[in-house]
């Protein structure tokens, strides 16, 4: 096979053609696999000299920063400030015994406020959703937990937004800062949640303030991205008009550029809030009380009914926060006719003030409108449990068989196969793929990322993660792709399916674990199913968007050439949509990586499990090395897909 490399018939070409090199590398990979039994051990698994003690170095660096640089005092100081704010919100929202000793605010007042905000932003339906969410929470007796969760978001989100805005503006002002920021953001956005938690535990400890701080850090990157994007998008004429109006730099920034970039910045705010929610739920792993902690406990105890209730609460909160911030982002200013009175101009404020006053007054008379005790709450856990039990018994033969089939015939053989591969063969294979897609540079990128994973010393664990991700993404492709094609068939259907995908994507990843644990219990099948569900959503979504995004003129041209529906789909729509669909594949891989790691606590043997161990032993070095290994997998796929998609786009004249 390697003969292809040397025996190139097109020797007159100055360089070997791309496919030839790729084929050669592929040949090497196959050869390495076939001859594994006689290979020297150093080619089968990373030899000892190749495994560097990155973890020790990182630990040394962190110790140096913490003890010698005195960074500990800085972080502790900041943490104390955050804690003070957390106490204030905790007092107001659920009556924790702290300054200002005013709370708790009656739940009816909070529900009414949420309703008015929803109404002002979009109208009745959002008002119902917002107020309804809080009514559900109180009726289900989850008020305190929910408010514990919300109080962290209320404190963390503004910090994230502020930091993101500041760093974004800095990056936009200076090319150098942007160049430094870009790779950091890339890595930060592909690091799994747990990787953020370990350093925070080291510097801050556990509990609500650590939860708040990890949430702040985790949700800053999208804000920076969107701020940069928004500021760059401001039309040069608007900036020039600002200059010609005699604006100073500061005036230009705060009254021209930032307000004009408003929509993108608010999309950033939306992402921050969604990230905050996702993180705050997961922060239960580092002792953050609230909905996440309850859900974690209940899931581990297999109390499905109660978990479902909490799941619904988290979903409602997610959808509400998402809809409200999105509505805020797309909201356009509208004028009032001349001579409109103050009351009409500020009608939402007036309505809010009146309703709040009414709610306060009623809460004084009817204690039920002030606070609802746990014993007074409704719980549907019993009926849900009954239904779930009945359902599980009903489909038990199916799930049993599926579990057996998947584990014995697919998962275990696949895992063994991945583990059988010599690491040198994997590197050669990745280099082949890289070369085929993007030439030498991409091949080197692939080798660099996976080479570092090999050097981390976690090769076997990493291969288990790769196996779960690749199987889940494959499954997601098999299901998501046809579903996307089906969804894109009609306009109305496309809108509906997209709405569902959108909503599913707002759910914190944790939620996906509830149904799979319910169906399969706690094992690999459950993990793979959760990852598959989570990964299928972006695939469906981008398939539809890609197919719908094909220019109308091309479809008309195909129709006039006498193409049937099927011919149009295969010859026109799909080729044109493929670059967009690949974006979906990329996201799908990213999502699965995150999910695999999160799912670790229901029992896997991959990087995620080790990360959990690192978290419980607060081993920063190990945690970050594992996190970076996951990030590198994601970044490699990201690089390959982007390379391929941009080349395809250019070839199609779309870019």
């Amino acid at each position: 096979m390697t003969a292809a490399l040397t025996n190139n018939p097109q020797a007159r070409l100055p360089a070997l053609s791309k496919t030839r090199v790729a084929q050669g590398l592929l040949g090497v990979a196959v050869l390495l696999v076939l001859t594994k039994t006689v290979l020297p051990a150093g080619l089968v698994r990373p030899p000892e000299w190749l495994v560097w003690p990155f973890a020790d170095w990182i630990n040394a660096l962190f110790n140096f920063m913490r003890d010698d640089l005195g960074l500990m005092h800085v972080t502790r100081g900041f943490a104390e400030g955050v804690e003070w704010l957390l106490d204030v919100t905790a007092n107001l929202l659920y009556g924790r015994n702290r300054w200002p000793y005013l709370g708790p605010i009656p739940w009816s007042v909070i529900a009414v406020t949420a309703g008015v905000v929803g109404y002002a932003l979009q109208g009745w339906r959002l008002a119902l959703l917002s107020a309804g969410t809080f009514v559900w929470i109180v009726v289900m007796g989850q008020w305190t937990w929910s408010m514990e969760t919300l109080s962290v978001i209320v404190v963390a989100a503004p910090f994230s937004i502020l930091f993101g805005l500041l760093i974004g503006v800095l990056g936009w002002k200076s090319r150098r800062v942007e160049k430094i920021l870009n790779p950091i953001l890339n890595i930060a956005q592909s690091l799994p949640h747990f990787a953020y938690m370990i350093p925070v535990v080291v510097f801050i400890g556990v509990g609500p303030k650590a939860g708040a701080i990890v949430t702040i850090i985790f949700s800053v990157p999208p804000m920076i991205r969107m701020t940069l994007l928004g500021l760059k998008k401001v039309s040069p004429e608007v900036v020039e008009s600002g200059h010609m109006c005699g604006a100073t730099r500061w005036q230009l920034l705060h009254s021209v550029q930032i307000p004009t970039a408003r929509t993108d910045i608010l999309v950033g705010v939306n992402q921050v809030i969604m990230q905050c929610l996702a993180m705050v739920v997961l922060a239960s792993f580092i002792g953050m009380p609230g909905l996440g902690q309850k859900l974690l406990q209940l899931l581990q105890a297999l109390k499905i009914g109660r978990s479902v209730e909490i799941g619904i609460t988290i979903v409602l909160l997610a959808v509400m926060l998402d809809r409200c911030t999105k509505a805020w982002a797309v909201r356009q200013p509208e004028h009032f006719e001349k001579g409109t009175s103050w009351v009409v101009r500020n009608k939402f404020l007036v309505i809010w003030a009146v309703l709040v006053a009414v709610a306060f007054a009623l809460a004084q008379v009817f204690p039920m409108l002030d606070q609802v005790k746990r014993s007074q709450a409704l719980s549907m856990a019993k009926p849900i449990d009954a239904v779930v039990d009945w359902f599980i018994v009903l489909i038990d033969p199916v799930t049993q068989w599926l579990r057996w089939f998947l584990i014995t015939w697919i998962l275990i053989p696949m895992r063994d196969a991945y583990l059988y591969l010599p690491f040198s063969a994997v590197l050669a294979l990745l280099a082949a793929i890289g070369w085929a897609i993007g030439g030498l540079r991409s091949a080197l990128v692939c080798i660099a990322f996976f080479g570092l994973i090999a050097m981390s010393g976690w090769w076997d664990r990493a291969m288990i993660t790769v196996y779960m991700v690749s199987f889940s993404v494959l499954l997601a492709l098999l299901v998501g792709f046809p579903m996307g094609i089906w969804g894109a068939r009609h306009d109305k259907r496309a809108v509906k399916v997209l709405l569902i995908c959108d909503t599913l994507q707002t759910f914190p990843s944790f939620i996906y674990l509830i149904p799979v644990v319910m169906l399969f219990g706690v094992n690999d099948v459950a993990v793979v199913s959760a990852v598959f569900l989570f990964a299928a959503v972006p695939l469906v979504r981008y398939t539809i968007e890609g197919l719908r995004g094909v220019p109308e003129a091309l479809i008309e041209a195909a129709n006039m050439s006498g193409a049937t529906q099927r011919q149009t789909l295969w010859n026109v729509r799909l080729p044109m949509a493929l670059p967009t669909i690949m974006v979906g594949v990329n996201q799908s891989v990213m999502f699965s990586l995150f999910m695999v790691i999160i799912a670790a606590f229901i029992g896997t043997q991959d990087l995620g499990q080790e990360m959990q161990r690192a978290l419980s032993s607060t081993d920063v070095g190990k945690g970050l090395v594992l996190g970076l290994a996951v990030a590198f997998m994601g970044l490699m796929v990201d690089h390959l897909v982007n390379r391929w998609a941009s080349r395809r786009r250019q070839a199609l004249g779309l870019a």
Binding site: G246, R262, Q332
Partner: protein
Amino acid sequence: MTTPETVISCNNVWKLFGEKAENYLAGMTGNPTFDEIRQAGYIAAVRDVSVDINRGEMLVIMGLSGSGKSTFVRCLSRLLDITGGTVKVEGQDIGALDEKELIDLRRNKMGMVFQSFGLLPHRNVLDNVAFPLEMRGQDRHTRRARALEVIELVGLGGREEYFPRELSGGQQQRVGIARSLAIEPDIWFLDEPFSALDPLIRREMQDEFLRLQEMLGKTIVFITHDFDEALRLADRIAIMKDGAVEQCDTPDKIVLEPATEYVRKFTEEINKARVVHARGLARPINGIAPSGEPIAGHTTIQEMGRLLVNDTRDLMPVSDKNGKVIGAMARQEALDVLFGAPA
């Protein structure tokens, strides 16, 4: 005759885009063409332009896209720093101004209108128009009063509270015009202000613009790619190609005596009789006293077509706005413009 006062004076202005363009310009020998400069890795957006603009004059810069006209006007307002040469505004070299002085100059002397309006989407009409006043730090009340005044002037009275997206393109550009006039600038830059509008609205806006200019008498630099628009509005036209000015003259001269082949191509399809005025054909009298009723200098040849055919004089006197005879026009020459020169 008094010599007109120069407001903006450009001397050998160069604008090159590319790494270290100053060094390249300093080391440049001879007079390289646009393509030669491109081969060296630079884009020559403005090449060696020298133009003087007088007080109260409307200079129209005409060129196709990529000719450097928009870049040139940005050099005049120092939205772009020039690579070589000088731009003086009322005798002051604007390249030498520091940031604060430049801001002061823009706050007090200059106004600019943009092709795609450049309005601030989050501010209503009133606040958009008052924006330059706000930048100057004027108080709310004065700001509002002045903004309302200019809004009335551009015919948008009653729409102060509308937001840009609630207005049509023509109305948005009126806001842009009002904003640029709010500080009562002496110098008014207009960068293709009507190009984004549809033809009917464009014509209406041109009329409106002429009415405003009649009233305000600003010094104007007007950019357009539309030759008809240039002929219609200009006191003088500068035609640009590949960053250089091909010809800078009155519309009459451009049509009658195109300086280069490029300019001649533009004028080919133009009905010259509609462009050329009596004053454009008038020659100094030199002692001969042409007889009869003088023709007003601003009459176009087309407007006096019937008169030209019926009249029998060989030389017809031409008068200026005040009725004073400024020269004489040969009837035959005018007829040639009207019907085309005999083959």
